[in-house]
Symmetry: D2
């Protein structure tokens, strides 16, 4: 037992209680026939919480963590502290990149040995913990070798390195019984079109993703393959811009029934969408998977990865998640980092606890809106005309026959109110 979180007691549901308890998150409370914990499926992210030193483009490390340092001992200490926090939070899941959990070696082989050793260490820890693995992923963006891309690199040897890395990470995820495997293409994009062959890089990316899917089937991994879209940052343009873009990409490479989306609120914002838009779109296209529930500042153009704090927004997100049928293998990951001024261990626990409560409140409001039914009834009523057999028949017709009917019937349709403010008022009754 490290003393990093000394004096911090395990958090429990305590609606009127002490500072660090949960006021709203009550894992065992049942909604729509399922426990809240099983609906929300919270995950703690290893990288931001335990590996990020607090730097930004204008300043260096602010956090002093006893486990910072590139040795195996430090990696084990980091894992110990991580699981201590998972326990404090009663977190059902966690997530990692390979680079979060193991020291970088001088060679691929050495990095792999370090990685495999730590995977075993994590496996042992998981045996005595309730916390399971929501997903694993490979960091194919941090090291300078990836500066021009991983799968989309102009150098085929970096494609090879990346493929070998993904293999190792998929193996490890499978070994730890992970629920999903994620790919985020932080360097799969470009800084300038002048040095970029867009078409070639797209082919490389498509083949790489196919290989990951093929390998999943080969090893019998039952979890989902998830792609996480983001429009830009670190690169000027990233190929996995948003859900709609990735959908087209999946269709081109025949992967639309093999791959799902891991949608981050902050990345939706950066792409010019609301989070609920991305969720609803993914659901409507049959590719909804999981979420990263960390917000972006609406007014910065970079990825602030903040813990969620706005209940009405979170409620609209879970409303879409519930309408999509809820999570199967997916969950609610906090891909969120503390502000770099939040130096204390208690900040890390409080940030997660506050976020879990915000999500619990939003989720409960979403359930209430769904069970109330007014919103969906009004939506159905708006489109009711399309349920008529005439309307359905029209969709089977052609322009000429429709034009003939317009002429013959002298139709002159009148607009009807969209009732946006009334709908917003209804939402506000629940949040």
């Amino acid at each position: 037992m490290s003393d990093f979180f000394k004096n911090i007691k395990p958090l429990s549901y305590d609606p009127d209680g002490s500072d660090l308890g949960f006021r709203h998150y009550n894992p065992d409370e049942v909604f729509m026939g399922k426990r809240m914990e099983d609906h929300l499926r919270f995950a703690v992210a290893y990288w931001h919480s335990f590996a990020w030193p607090g730097g930004d483009p204008f300043g260096g490390q602010t956090f002093d963590r006893p486990w910072f340092g590139e040795t195996m001992d430090m990696a084990r200490l980091k894992a110990d502290v991580a699981f201590e926090m998972f326990d404090l939070l009663n977190a059902p899941f966690f997530c990692w990149h390979d680079a979060d959990i193991r020291p970088e070696g001088d060679t691929f082989a050495e990095s792999l040995r370090n990685f495999e050793e730590i995977i075993d260490y994590l496996g042992t820890k998981m045996e005595s913990s309730k916390t399971k693995l929501l997903w694993g992923t490979a960091n194919l963006f941090g090291h300078r070798r990836f500066m021009s891309g991983a799968a989309t690199n102009p150098d085929p040897e970096i494609f090879a390195w990346s493929a070998a890395t993904v293999k190792a990470c998929m193996d490890a995820t499978h070994k730890l019984d992970g629920q999903n495997y994620v790919l985020w293409g932080g360097r799969e994009g470009y800084e300038t079109l002048l040095n970029t062959d867009l078409k070639r890089e797209r082919q490389q990316a498509g083949r790489f993703l196919q290989m990951a899917v093929e390998y999943k089937h080969k090893i019998g991994f039952k979890g989902a393959i998830l792609v996480e879209p983001k429009p830009q940052e670190p690169t000027k343009h990233q190929y996995d811009f948003d859900v709609a873009t990735v959908y087209g990409f999946l269709k081109e490479f025949g992967l639309e029934s093999e791959v799902q989306m891991n949608i981050e609120q902050g990345h939706a914002i950066l792409a010019g969408h609301s989070f609920e838009h991305e969720l609803a779109l993914a659901s409507s296209l049959g590719i909804f998977g999981s979420i990263d529930m960390n917000r972006n500042d609406y007014q910065s153009g970079w990825d602030t990865d903040q813990f969620p704090n706005n209940v009405p927004e979170v409620a609209l997100a879970y409303y879409e998640v519930l309408k999509a049928g809820g999570f199967t293998t997916g969950g609610t990951n906090f891909d969120a980092k503390l502000r770099r001024q939040s130096l204390d261990p208690v900040d890390l626990v409080a940030a997660h606890a506050g976020a879990m409560d915000v999500c619990a409140r939003g989720f409960k409001a979403a359930v209430a809106m769904l069970e109330d039914g007014t919103l969906e009834a009004m939506r159905d009523e708006r489109y009711a005309g399309w349920e008529s057999s005439n309307a359905k028949a029209m969709l089977e017709g052609d322009l000429a026959s429709i034009a003939a009917r317009v002429a013959k019937e002298g139709i002159n349709p009148q607009p009807r109110s969209g009732r946006q403010e009334i709908l917003e008022n209804i939402v506000n009754r629940f949040v």
Copy 2:
């Protein structure tokens, strides 16, 4: 002959000449085996130039045009003046929406009669003019009936009205021997997800576009069907967000070989892309069609539709157009409006003349960059590794075999310079 442009003489190529001549646009000059006019294929847009009254969200009409008024006489006067300007500019093409050229009637039938009469009038004028029709399109966004969408309207009768309108506009485009038919979905989107059935509306939009394609074949129209993407404005979210989004949509509805893109610089900007990105992407996906060469202010969030004025940017755009093989049925449309303070007739002519010159300069620079070959040689050199048989074989392989090779060969790839600044310097030699 109206006196609207009195005292303005037809413009000609006059590199050192008077204010309103072309300093750079020389239609007959040959580049890469084709006349400049045949490369650039300039088109004047009827709506902004002749139908827009100059209003903005905080102010009303500023332009006083003698043809403003909803009568057939006014519509004919408008056509007369338009062709006078086409002649002054020696413009090879023009474009219209139905609503630009005819007065709205009280009924569909009356609007259609007005429209057909004006189409005949335009046809007659075209007989004595060099100016041809680049494309026609239907305005399915201005009238209040379209406030909640056209094809994606919750009311099937508005779908019907829209379909009948598109039929009429396709017929007219065909009759006038138009080179393309365009669809821009200004209201095909939503203001709030709370009242929207995203999935249903997507199906409606997909079927509508299929009908347009089917009708094209039925009537034997040989031009291209073009979709013009835009991310937002007027609606909060528009379904045809950008090229990548439309590609996914086309794939879903089996239309990717039937429909091409009409890409507007300003809409690319609003979607968070550079214009050249959208061009290169469309080309790489095989759906490049035509362009609207009007810029957006980078720092406004709305669609400013300004005439192009930055030669280096225009050069990069035509570089992508040329790499895509140049225009076939497409062309360079100015979907641009005067600033609302530019009241005088000469402003309208000068704006087009300046834009044509900017395009001509950019085009010539693009040709020179291509013929010089340095940029493409450097690009090829960057990806040369992928031309090896080993690299090609790797793409046929799988993760496990690649990982085995990485382990066996101990590969440790080193990054190489992306040379962005040197490439930008090279571009600056030509612009």
Copy 3:
């Protein structure tokens, strides 16, 4: 009594009641020694609610109002309906531009006659209504004569016209016992620097504002003069960009103790600020006056003027208002328009009712946070070091003596946590 709002009953506080009652707004409830109505001081805006036809840059009028038309009879009907809605809402205040309430005449004199007649009509209506005038203002942006500015126009005759208009509007505001007079410089800016003399226009604007202040004193108007900042739209750049910009302008022209800010949430957002930033800054500079409580969509670049709907955000705003001492002459104006698809009379009433409830909830949360005191105690504790006499003395010192002390004492200050997430959690206990 018009029948526009037929079937809509006056709204009252009814926490568990019918659709259109107030669930949270309870005018007579006392907080911090003052009635809620006297804290919030709600105002309905005449223009958006009764004069705006529903157009946007891509579409025309959507609203069909029986009072639309440029006659005095219509203007009186509009006033009748407006007061009917004020009564339904129990609104303590309203606001107008001259152009909202009277038909435009062919000459200045005729417009003035229309205006004065309507002012008298409003005065009569106010006698039998509880609704008072929060502020009046002149529309110096809608008519084409203002297209290049009002006070900052290159044509001095338009300066004159604008000055005469402001005089008339100040007279009328005074006559109706308005609480404030507002200036919003929608066209006081530029489209292009190429045709603009920034320095000269700044001098014109400064003198114009001085004249308004002088005139206030001359006629004995006791209300405040308010300037409403906005960064852009309609023009590319507006001189009253944000609070900080206007403060510098007031300092230059010696007006910082004569003029206060009317701060709109949406304009704060467009300027890249949070609303609470603008409020806190104005308060810290001694120029806080009043608010326009209408939100902007964070992801559009234009002014969406939506009714507020996010309680946590509104709570943070009222927290700053309360810290600034609350409103004196100012109030909470809804400079908000219905979405253009919200066609029905009930939409107009519901939008205001929902907004008033959102504000009431936010206000109550703000009061609770202030009374709880944790936030302010933590803030004070963070700056406690500055309360020491040494720290205060340092501010009286100079670089050399401070440097000597740093050297002598070997100081090595260590950073302390900023506790942002914990503070956000505290806020979430109240909203």
Copy 4:
């Protein structure tokens, strides 16, 4: 002589020559009575060129420089290579932060000793070089002690540390005969208003700047004190948001005639302004000083600090610089960093060379536009009405007398064209 730039020859003016010569920058060519070098006054920035390791928020160091390492030997090697590049480029100026040039010590005293030793080393190098110091500045943002601000820190000891640092940097700048001293408040702002006392921090910042001005006079430093505005990044909000904001701040603290602006193109863009706006505004307020001629990507929300590459934009900037009277103590600094993929020494030289050429072309175009005179003649003509004695008298008048004249004379001013497109066409003749 290091071998870092081996094989790279000194660059000279060679309009038709080799890759790395100047095609446009000809230091001795005379424009408006002054040598081009004396107009442009180029400076190389030490930090980005020699101290930045190439990291971004998602990836670490990409550059391998032989001088990386925190020792005095490395600092001297860095200085050697820097001056080798200054010589290659024939750069008249350079700039530094304290943290760029010396290793950080364990204590203030040790850092100061390192700093003073390196200042002496630079002084010696400058004796045998043409390159002078444009400005020095203190890095008060990189180290974790500054994470919550320097002058505006809640901890007065950090204010003290900052003051002592600025003293040392001003002393050193004075010793090296620097032309200016710059302050950029990268951490003078906040992440959240919840933990911030805006008013108190403003007072701290104001007093700090006063102290710097007082110290300048005390030591007899004749250069200018420059403040560099930036709206955000690294903090969510920075107090020196833009030129207008800083002007208000200077007025509040009585510093408007003591402090000038160092305006960066990229920061102007991030604040929602064009670069030329910030230049023209500073000039009109009498606080124009110097420029950082590095562009921002218009479509990223973070500070990309790219070398300039767009000649038309640069021309408009120098047009404002020339209209402001040109530089006195100021100059053209490249606060620009290579793209992190530009690994090679030649990239560093080429980036500067290309930027200098872009500036030279833009400058020459600006001179030509000024000497041609059309733009200014059209501007004067637009405001000619204000030169009449009537108009001037009106500005001395009051609202009532102006209103009386409007009534009496029945004035009805008509708008005149703003001629934006024609003006843009004129600019395009020169760029």
